[in-house]
């Protein structure tokens, strides 16, 4: 590593430690920010010599990164950005903090995938899904798929692990080959993890025709784009690998969506030569991910935290939550997106029959939504009021990003 990179890396680690000691945060961004100021190529220098997997998509990337890290851990030490700091500053901090490791598994914000591909030259990239998320500042879904596709064209040597159930991902992962000019299609391993949210992929990104669906199959009515045959699939509470062997998956994380994330993790680890039979038991060691799914006892209540940031992830959260009193908290600060329109893309009907409480900066937006949805609710001013308003036992908390962080802070930054 050049001297400048060594200095930058050391300063980055120190700043991260100071930030944590001062109680200012996880220290997962500030260190990388300072390091990149000193050496703009620091991320590339820190990546050199490591076998790297990148994990990107709208939803599930933090959890899938954690599960993949556990699976690749079979082979040796793995550096990872486990706090959800998923932009280049976060990657830089994570690699600097980890020191020298043979492997790294990095969660990447979908907007930064092209940039991080350039800097880290990964062995494999996992593409999970693309759906609407914070449209007041995020790229529209089709544009995002186009950016991914363009990035993969420039790196045909990178192996791709991609979701066969999402037409946008399939299209992004299969750029046209041009053997005459030496451009070959990337090597793609397909997984099927199911997809509950379909409303961002009714129009073919290739030709604009309607996407047809029947059961798990989908195909374009106007061009050859269709669901590829997946090599990794979820069956019951387990994962079937490309040889047809079925592996029971026992997770501490709730919901079918996490069995899908486990399938993805095993598929990515297999790209490094990890056998699923060796890795599958390690997945059960993951209990919570940066506070997501964490359970906390307070005043006789067992509080479980679920993060839901966009319509697709709200559908998954309702599937994971128990039939128990449920607190919903909504903010619309910068990291959340300033627009709450998406609330009307979510059908809250699964909550009927449960005691529902609402809070957060934008509780009134949620109130209007629930009223139209015929879901009775009670508005509370604070998290403490919510805890007092429910009987002893399970309290499910479903919140979007900064609302989740606020509640996590109330619970002493539970991980």
């Amino acid at each position: 590593m050049p001297l400048r990179a060594k200095v930058a890396s050391s300063v980055s680690r120190t700043a991260g430690a100071l930030s944590r000691a001062a109680g200012r945060g996880d220290g997962s961004v500030i260190g990388g920010w300072i390091g990149l100021k000193i050496d703009p190529d620091l991320l590339a220098h820190l990546s050199a010599g490591r076998a790297i997997a990148l994990v990107s998509g709208t939803n599930g990337k933090t959890t899938t990164t954690r599960l993949t890290t556990a699976a690749v851990g079979v082979l040796g030490r793995v550096a990872t950005n486990s706090f959800g700091a998923n932009m280049p500053t976060g990657h830089t901090s994570a690699l600097a903090r980890a020191g020298s490791t043979p492997y790294a598994v990095l969660e990447v914000d979908e907007h930064y995938l092209a940039q991080v591909l350039e800097a880290t030259e990964p062995h494999v990239v996992a593409l999970l899904n693309l759906s609407r998320d914070q449209l007041d500042r995020a790229k529209e879904v089709a544009m995002m798929a186009q950016l991914w596709r363009a990035a993969l064209v420039r790196h045909p040597d990178i192996r791709v692990v991609a979701n066969a159930d999402d037409p946008m991902v399939v299209w992004a992962a299969t750029p046209p080959a041009d053997p005459a000019r030496g451009i070959h299609p990337p090597h793609v391993t397909w997984f099927s993890a199911g997809q509950r949210w379909l409303d961002d992929s009714w129009v073919c990104p290739e030709c604009g025709s309607t996407i047809q669906r029947s059961g798990e199959q989908w195909w374009c009515s106007g061009c050859p784009l269709r669901r590829p045959e997946p090599q990794w699939t979820v069956e019951d509470d387990g994962v079937t690998d490309p040889t047809g062997a079925w592996h029971k998956v026992t997770l501490q994380l709730p919901g079918k969506v996490n069995v899908g994330n486990a399938a993805t993790a095993l598929a990515v680890a297999a790209e490094f030569g990890v056998r699923p039979v060796d890795a599958v038991s390690r997945l059960g060691s993951v209990a919570s991910v940066a506070g997501r799914y964490a359970q906390v006892q307070r005043d006789g209540r067992n509080i479980r935290l679920l993060l839901a940031k966009n319509p697709a992830s709200w559908l998954e959260a309702f599937d994971m939550a128990d039939e128990a009193p449920t607190l919903l908290s909504i903010n619309a600060r910068d990291p959340d997106g300033l627009d709450t329109s998406w609330l009307f893309d979510v059908d809250f009907a699964p909550l009927r029959g449960r005691q529902v409480l609402i809070t957060g900066d934008r509780a009134y937006d949620l109130a209007v939504r629930l009223d139209v949805n015929d879901v009775p609710f009670q508005h509370v001013r604070s998290f403490d009021d919510a805890v007092r308003a429910v009987p002893p036992g399970r309290l499910e908390v479903i919140a979007n990003y900064t609302a989740f962080q606020d509640i996590r802070a109330e619970l002493d930054r539970v991980n």
């Binding site: 449209l135 007041d136 329109s341 009307f344 939504r369 949805n373």
Partner: protein, 240 residues
Amino acid sequence: MSTESLRIVWVYPDLLSTYGDRGNALILARRAQRRGMPVEVLEIRSDQRLPAAADIYLIGGGEDGPQALGAQRLLADGGLHRAVAQGSVVFGVCAGYQLLGTSFFAKGTKYAGLELLDLASDRGPTRAVGELAGEIDQRLGLPALSGFENHGGRTRLGPEVAPLARVTTGIGNDGVTEGAWRGKLLGTYSHGPALARNPALADLLLRWATGVHQLPPLDDTWSDRLRNERRAAVAAAARA
């Protein structure tokens, strides 16, 4: 109003439903049902014929490609023009508002609109993203418009339409006026579930559709609180 029930058509949700557009159909249906009106909501996809005999047509927002495709299919179908000729109500939001005009831009190309409203849309110098508020045309007798906008267009109104509102916060058509209306056709840049924050506007569409001049009041506690909270937030942002 058609004889048996109030028929609401949500036009092309496969193309024009970028962010919460379903909300407008849900809100209209609920407000009608709570007053004892039977309601039917039809979601008509772009590969289906558009029925011409419904009472209210809702056209939502969309990305450039789907907007252009939606306009082409509506022109080819002709159902919306027949419905308008028969006196149906049309509510267009964002991309769905632009395509009611004579022309709009998508992906750098000029497309023909439906020519149902005398207006034309262009690309603006910047994207308009944020809170949108304005004083609504007094003839409509509605409280202030409250919404959120997210669009790259600028819209010039012709003499055949009136602006829906005079902008107090945000951009709307051009920073001065916002939206447009003529007869029973109304369009706005207040995107997505615009009626969630503007229940009085929802009731205006219901009055137009039913011919009932006085609808029984509903409990609008939560939307009133939401409107007050948004008005306070906009005022606080203006002071900062």
